[in-house]
């Protein structure tokens, strides 16, 4: 046996002794999908002339590999990083976008020298972190390693998963919400509150994580929605309040991310609700889910699928919405009520005012990946799901690279 073989044997043993599945599987899901996506976005941009409109801009025309990852809302984040926040009552302004992501990009800009590469570094690094937490949380909630191995792949290959690598907040949001849920399940309330606070500084739906952490706290003290009618649940909750008020107190940290931003806009623009006013200028009106969905379905029925006369985005947004909603009862039964309610609120909050961007919003509904991971024990289902996701992902990243709005 040569010295080289011995060294190789030792290295292999070292790896075998350490249980590194929690890192290896998320890393593999990350590398496999990102390498293919990076190539698909670049080639997709080259292959098709793209939208030729006066308002189309390019953040880095000198480097297309980077430029394809900055489309649509990326411009708002870039403007916040470069010029600071703006606010107007009657026109779109950057006050609609929450501060954690641009603040991190701004902090990292000195390292990369330019805002876009700093943003892409943060998006991709937080995606990897999110996948690691997702793996661990799935293991914890479902108790099957192979379910966790599949879940990270479904998340990384979801049809709109290219947003995870774009100059968008999706991957940061996934990281902070999954991490908060993970620590809540492990009853590490201050860690859960720390991540939850970052979630409310990332996006409005971050507040929904307060529900997950809160329900996990109640569950840890013997009170669940299903047992609320039993006297014993209330007794045990009372004991919990007496013995573990510290955990409950820590949860007060969670809204501080949002409150910091509101205090900032109150001071600088004179309105703590500036983000809502600004978001209202995006052609959204609070008609409620019934009228919004009905309007979208009417537009589909009025068109003709056969002749291609249907609003294509309405098709994918409604598919994402109904796909996620259909899974909610199963998430309730097989993962837990907190996760079902969280999933529902992630898709219900935006559809209150519009179907727009639903494909992107649905991307962060992480309990969906855990459920699919649990279901796809059968290899055929696993392959069918991954093939479907990957094909749609390739299509959407190409469309997005050419400046057609996806979400």
């Amino acid at each position: 046996m040569s010295a080289l073989q011995r060294a190789w044997g030792r290295t292999r043993n070292w790896w075998a002794c350490r249980d590194l599945g929690w890192l290896a599987h998320p890393l593999l899901a990350f590398l496999a999908t990102r390498a293919a996506l990076w190539a698909a976005a670049y080639l997709g941009e080259l292959a098709i002339p793209g939208l030729d409109a006066s308002w189309v801009w390019h953040a880095r025309p000198d480097n297309l590999f980077l430029d394809v990852w900055a489309r649509w809302d990326a411009g708002w984040y870039l403007s916040i990083v470069r010029q600071g926040y703006t606010f107007a009552r009657d026109a779109q302004s950057s006050a609609a976008f929450f501060p954690l992501y641009p603040a991190l990009v701004r902090a990292l800009r000195w390292l990369t020298g330019d805002a876009l590469s700093a943003g892409l570094l943060i998006s991709n690094a937080t995606l990897l972190g999110a996948l690691v937490y997702l793996y661990r949380l799935t293991e914890l909630l479902i108790g099957q390693r192979d379910a966790a191995e599949r879940a990270v792949f479904y998340a990384a290959a979801f049809p709109s998963a290219f947003f995870f690598s774009s100059m968008y907040t999706e991957s940061l949001f996934l990281l902070v919400t999954v991490a908060a849920a993970y620590h809540a399940r492990r009853q590490q309330w201050v860690w859960a509150a720390f991540w939850g606070m970052l979630a409310t500084a990332t996006r409005v739906p971050g507040l929904a994580i307060l529900g997950v952490v809160g329900l996990e706290w109640l569950r840890a003290h013997g009170w669940t929605l299903a047992t609320a009618w039993r006297g014993r649940a209330w007794q045990s909750l009372w004991r919990g309040l007496r013995d573990d008020w510290g955990g409950l107190l820590a949860m007060a940290l969670i809204p501080l991310g949002l409150l910091s931003y509101m205090a900032f806009t109150a001071r600088v623009f004179g309105d703590p609700w500036a983000f809502r006013v600004a978001q209202g200028t995006w052609d959204r009106d609070m008609a409620g889910p019934y009228w919004i969905i009905r309007g979208a379905v009417d537009r589909l029925i009025a068109g003709s699928f056969k002749r291609g006369k249907v609003p294509w985005r309405e098709v994918i947004d409604l598919a994402a919405f109904f796909g996620v909603v259909a899974l909610v009862p199963f998430i309730w039964k097989q993962i837990g009520d907190a996760y079902a309610l969280y999933t529902l609120s992630i898709v219900l909050l935006p559809i209150w005012s519009h179907t727009m961007s639903m494909t992107r919003f649905a991307l962060v509904a992480f309990p969906v990946y855990m459920l699919l991971g649990r279901w796809a024990r059968h290899r055929a289902l696993d392959r069918a799901l991954l093939a479907t996701f990957a094909i749609l992902l390739g299509m959407l990243v190409t469309v997005n690279a050419n400046w057609y709005f996806v979400g």
């Binding site: 900032f264 001071r267 600088v268």
Partner: protein
């Protein structure tokens, strides 16, 4: 006697440090950092 496993109350102190004080400290730093970033770096430039 040398013992490689920490005593229970030392382990408990470590756990409290790891699960309470460290995340509290980080939360405080994150909150201060976020607000500093907002007021010093992300506030609109003076006209």
């Amino acid at each position: 006697m040398m013992n490689s496993t920490p005593e229970p109350n030392r382990r408990e102190r470590l756990r409290i440090w790891w699960e309470v004080w460290l995340p509290l400290l980080l939360a405080g730093l994150a909150l201060v950092g976020l607000n500093l970033a907002l007021y010093l770096k992300l506030a609109p430039a003076a006209p």
